[in-house]
């Protein structure tokens, strides 16, 4: 396929995915509101355990005692991870449910191109949702302020995070072709990310979680993003962290691509693509 034809397929897939999204506007409203609502138990837990505002122990671990801002930033950034898991990783499974998977496989387009279209849509919608959440949160008294000087490096870090994570999600989409029902596994992965990356708590509090978290790009991105937003740190080692993220991206993208191609070929050969 020529580059123009590939671009046309990606655009068509994006239009289709956006149309499906907007057919259920309540789902978009849900994703805009509930990820923020999910952090409220943590805010109330903080209030019960140390009182409102600041925690000295938290400050020792993270550099800031403002646990509310910590949790809210974690919730916003983790949206990208979970949209990758559900929107990209689970997307081919959804096509199976809709009865359209066979058409995708039979079309002269490689399924990976379709996944790129889905990934770009997912990234665009999640960015809009997170921007909306950030705007809302900056008006509330949580001690989070966004300025252009802060937003630009944050966008760079988020871009690098998304690149690698969507590579992982593409590999995961390959697994859905193989093992079919992955709903439970997506939930397990979600909780693994909650446990081994500093979305909801500083992982440094435990030796094991601190060690495992270093293997996850989200950890590096969150540490830098929180440093920029909460601590006003101009020098959080952004270039070093960007380098680490780039290295992880390369591994995840190449690994994701190879995994998907291998698994897709296997399911074609086994003749199990249309199975549920």
């Amino acid at each position: 396929m020529s580059f123009a034809a590939t671009a046309y397929v990606i655009r068509a897939e994006m239009v289709k995915t956006i149309r499906i999204y907007f057919s259920y506007p309540v789902i978009i409203v849900f994703w805009a509101i509930f990820p923020v609502l999910w952090v409220f138990p943590f805010l109330f837990q903080g209030k019960a355990l140390v009182g409102p505002g600041q925690s000295a122990a938290f400050q020792q671990l993270t550099g800031s005692g403002n646990y509310m801002a910590f949790i809210l930033i974690g919730a916003m950034v983790s949206n990208f991870v979970f949209s990758g898991l559900w929107g990209v990783g689970n997307s081919l499974r959804e096509e199976t449910y809709w009865g359209t998977m066979e058409y995708i496989i039979a079309s002269p387009t490689h399924p990976l191109v379709i996944l790129v279209g889905k990934t770009l849509t997912e990234a665009a919608i999640t960015t809009c949702i997170v921007a909306l959440q950030a705007t809302l949160i900056s008006f509330l008294p949580f001690g989070i302020a966004f300025t252009v000087a802060k937003v630009l490096p944050v966008l760079l870090l988020v871009g690098l995070l998304m690149l690698g994570f969507y590579g992982f999600a593409i590999a995961f989409a390959g697994f859905t072709l193989l093992i079919k029902e992955v709903h439970g596994w997506v939930h397990t992965l979600e909780w693994v990310f909650f446990l081994f990356s500093p979305i909801r708590y500083p992982v440094q509090v435990n030796v094991i979680t601190a060690f495992v978290s270093k293997l996850i790009p989200l950890t590096w991105a969150l540490i830098a993003i929180r440093g920029i937003i909460m601590l006003n740190q101009r020098d959080v080692g952004i270039w070093k962290i960007a380098g680490v993220l780039l290295g992880m991206d390369a591994v995840l993208l190449v690994g994701g691509y190879l995994t998907f191609v291998a698994l897709e070929r296997k399911t074609r050969r086994d003749g199990t693509v249309g199975m549920h």
């Binding site: 509930f34 999910w38 138990p41 109330f44 925690s55 122990a57 439970g184 596994w185 909650f194 909801r200």
Partner: protein, 304 residues
Amino acid sequence: MAEGSRVQGFKGSGTRTPEPRNPRTLPLARLRHYALAVWAENIKEWKLELTYPLDFLRSLIDPVVYLLPYVLYGIALVGGRYSPNLQKLVGTSDIVSFITIGYVFIGFMNMALWAMGFSLRKEQMYGTLEAVFAAPVPRWVFTMGMSMHSILHQFLMIAVQLIFITAVFSLKVNPAGLLPSLAMIGLMLVALYGIGMIMASTTLIFKQGWLISEALGSLLMVVTPIAYPLAVLPVFMQKTALTVPTTYGILAARHFLLGEQMGFSVGTAFLRVAVLCVAWVVFGLVVFALIDRYTRRSGTLSHY
């Protein structure tokens, strides 16, 4: 008809079990008939679940992975295991035991919203919903069988959570509080059965009802004092929390096991949950009956 074949009748073998006709033996025979159906449904669910051993194993490990961030977050906030602030609020300072007991018992709410709520949807996906609806038992018997399986599964998950937390953090509870806690949890389960009935019926209309379960579950997770006392919630949330059975279940369990001060007496807690049981179960059955009739009349039962 022998017991074995009667049970078999509910498993879709094609054998219809006749309703007991003799009016003299009616209540007892019917009850036995329903109990057999509940048991058959429970066994069927276990068989289905154990067909996928890896998934079953994952379902036992998941709750531990789910619980740990809440516990570690508490430790990171306080800088240790004991919180003077919590001591001032509820009379107990051990945050690990406080949080664990809260999250262990809230699992029953998820059971009502997800396991029971999606029981009918699951049958639809298997292609067996019509057969289940044609069986000679009321639909609530079917959902009760599903809930029996879910409750037993939930107890298994709780056991794994408690064993892990006890091994790693050493859970400190008052053993004498176990029986009254279980009594309160039992009452809470009855009320949750009512909520589960409502969720199960909504899937008949909305089909992909995950959004309702997720939204309702999220709201209940905020208002239920799982890892915090009622006092830290805004007043309107405190009032809402008092209409939810899980609030009393968790507060009372922590009261008996850890000595948490509830803000009301034990008698009041039992009385309020008993009222909630009646209210939620009646409401659940009525909503279920109405929606069941609506889907039958509109002919949308088999729609996806």
